[in-house]
């Protein structure tokens, strides 16, 4: 699971896709997740990291994470699996 490499993320949560010219906005947790996905971290690792840092149950986190990834796919921000 990996974020497309051409995606630019600024510190203010502005997300830019240089392929399409589309831009997006995300919140701080979203920014963190985008960085993890860019680094090709897997779901389990991300969950462990996030639930260690934030006050959230693993199952609840995974629900939100799934929903977030659906949106990234919908916006074509993820690399398609080979």
């Amino acid at each position: 699971m990996r974020l497309k490499q051409n995606i630019v993320i600024t510190e203010t949560g502005f997300v830019f896709d240089s392929d399409t010219g589309d831009s997006y906005s995300t919140n701080p947790v979203g920014m963190e997740l985008l960085e993890k996905l860019r680094a090709q971290m897997e779901m389990e690792e991300i969950t462990a990291y996030m639930t260690g840092k934030y006050d959230v149950e693993p199952l609840q986190f995974q629900r939100y994470f799934d929903d977030f990834v659906i949106m990234l796919r919908h916006f074509n921000l993820m690399e398609e699996p080979e």
Binding site: D22, S23, T26, V29, G30, D55, F65, F68, H74
Partner: protein, 452 residues
């Protein structure tokens, strides 16, 4: 180390230069309590979903409407439109406030009698009055508003047979400048049908023409239409005075005032566009005061206001069943309130709010009911925050028509709770059960199981 507060991750596309239709940021204020009782407590106690009615709001809106009219005209009488909400407790609140009853069927008529309304304070409207209904209404001295000439002949026949004088009015339909013009009920004004009916009634010994009635439509946003309707009924009253030296006792303008709900497709919210009771009262009473009806014989003004009186007093509380992304990425929410419980969702964009504080992650969302039917859409498109399974929602302004037009479908109809004047919750209608449903079914002998 203490963990940081978690916020749900969100990402949305930036569409430069397209603010929402009011150019404002969406912000939904959670509705956490109804008349001081936490929403969660009501749901814990009475189950989900549940209808809630605020007695305080019922009474205060009634008083506001009454005040708008009584300050402008001396003789005002409201008659509670039973079809709008005929839960006995609700009807009795209106009757306690001084409202008569306006009914449109034998069932509603009997309900009004059982709610303690004297027969002579019941207005009997509608196209479907059986011979038995008419007989009862004539005996009780109720006000029979005749809908068509077949009914007029029935009234004459039954009143004669009973040796009684029936108190009747005619329902008049007319052009008031609004579209659509309702012409299926009553006698038409412009083509002379209404005047013809009056000329049939007046010579009849067993009929007394007590009033003139119209109901020009529902959710009427233009008070001036009522001014036109009032003037036309007043003209008929003047003609009756001239020809028969008879003074009608009342003019009944029916219902139809808009509630603050937003109609589907409306550009602005109903809260911004709905005329006030003062606006309607001004239009109607001016037309009456300026009419040529003889001053000593000014008729009483009857009103059968339904939705504008009770919509604000009712809400439905429910629970989130699931979140789902649609194939196109759109957020959707499934709640346990379906269109079977919210009949008015077919014409209103209902206000729906979370019942607890929520994250500020608004997204265009579709809200579905639980019915497993494609039509079960509570809101097709609403900017809504993300909620979790088990969270609660409140759909407000649902007091009118939902507790009468609700459909028993797939599951039981839920409880209805009244928050009384002391701020206490009291159940005013029990939930249906398997037994309620089966009570009416009859299984023929050859389909019975051996042990039945």
């Amino acid at each position: 180390m203490e963990k940081l507060k978690f916020e749900r991750p969100v990402i949305s596309r930036i569409n430069a230069g397209i603010p929402d239709k009011f150019g404002m940021k969406t912000h939904i204020i959670p509705v956490t309590q109804i008349d001081g009782i936490p929403v969660k407590d009501i749901l814990d106690r009475y189950g989900s979903p549940v209808y809630v009615i605020s007695e305080k709001t019922v009474r205060s809106v009634y008083q506001e409407a009454l005040h708008a009219f009584t300050t402008r005209y001396p003789k005002i009488q409201f008659a509670w439109s039973y079809k709008t909400n005929y839960l006995n407790a609700v009807c009795r609140i209106y009757h306690q406030e001084g409202s008569w009853a306006e009914v449109v069927s034998g069932f509603e008529y009997d309900k009004a009698i059982e709610n303690g309304v004297p027969g002579n304070k019941i207005i009997f409207n509608g196209p479907d009055k059986s011979a038995e209904d008419l007989k009862k209404a004539i005996e009780n001295g109720s006000l029979i508003h005749i809908d068509h000439s077949d009914e007029l002949y029935d009234c004459i026949k039954i009143a004669k047979a009973e040796g009684k004088k029936a108190k009747v009015a005619i329902r008049v339909n007319m052009d008031t400048g609004i579209y659509p013009q309702w012409d299926r009920f009553g006698f038409n004004y412009e083509n002379g049908e209404a005047w013809n009916a009056i000329n049939k009634i007046m010579p009849e010994e067993n009929l007394e023409l007590t009033g003139l009635h119209t109901h020009i439509g529902t959710y009427i946003m233009t008070p001036s239409a009522y001014a036109v309707a009032t003037s036309k009924l007043a003209l008929l009253a003047v003609r009756i005075e001239k020809k028969y030296s008879h003074h009608i006792r009342y003019i009944d303008l029916g219902g139809g005032f808009a509630s603050k709900n937003t109609l589907k497709g409306a550009y602005l919210p109903g809260t911004d566009t709905c005329p006030s009771f003062d606006d309607y009262a001004e239009a109607i009473t001016n037309a009456l005061n300026n009419s040529d009806i003889e001053y000593e014989h000014m008729p009483a003004l009857f009103l059968e206001t339904g939705r504008a009186l009770i919509d604000d007093a009712g809400c439905i509380l429910g629970t989130v069943l699931a979140n789902k992304r649609l194939a196109n990425g759109r957020r959707s929410l499934i709640i346990d309130i379906g269109v079977n419980l919210l009949f008015t969702s077919f014409w209103y964009e209902h206000n729906i709010a979370p019942a607890q504080f929520h994250q500020d992650d608004y997204e265009d969302t579709t809200i579905y009911g639980p019915l497993c039917m494609n039509i079960d859409v509570i809101r097709a498109a609403i900017m809504f925050p993300s909620l979790n399974k088990g969270d609660h929602v409140v759909i407000s302004r649902t007091g009118a028509y939902n507790m009468t037009q609700w459909l028993q479908f797939i599951t039981y109809r839920p409880r209805v709770v009244l928050i009384n004047m002391k701020g206490e919750a009291e159940m005013i209608r029990e939930q249906e059960t398997n037994q309620t449903m089966n009570m009416l079914d009859v299984v023929p002998g050859h389909l019975k199981n051996k042990d039945e």
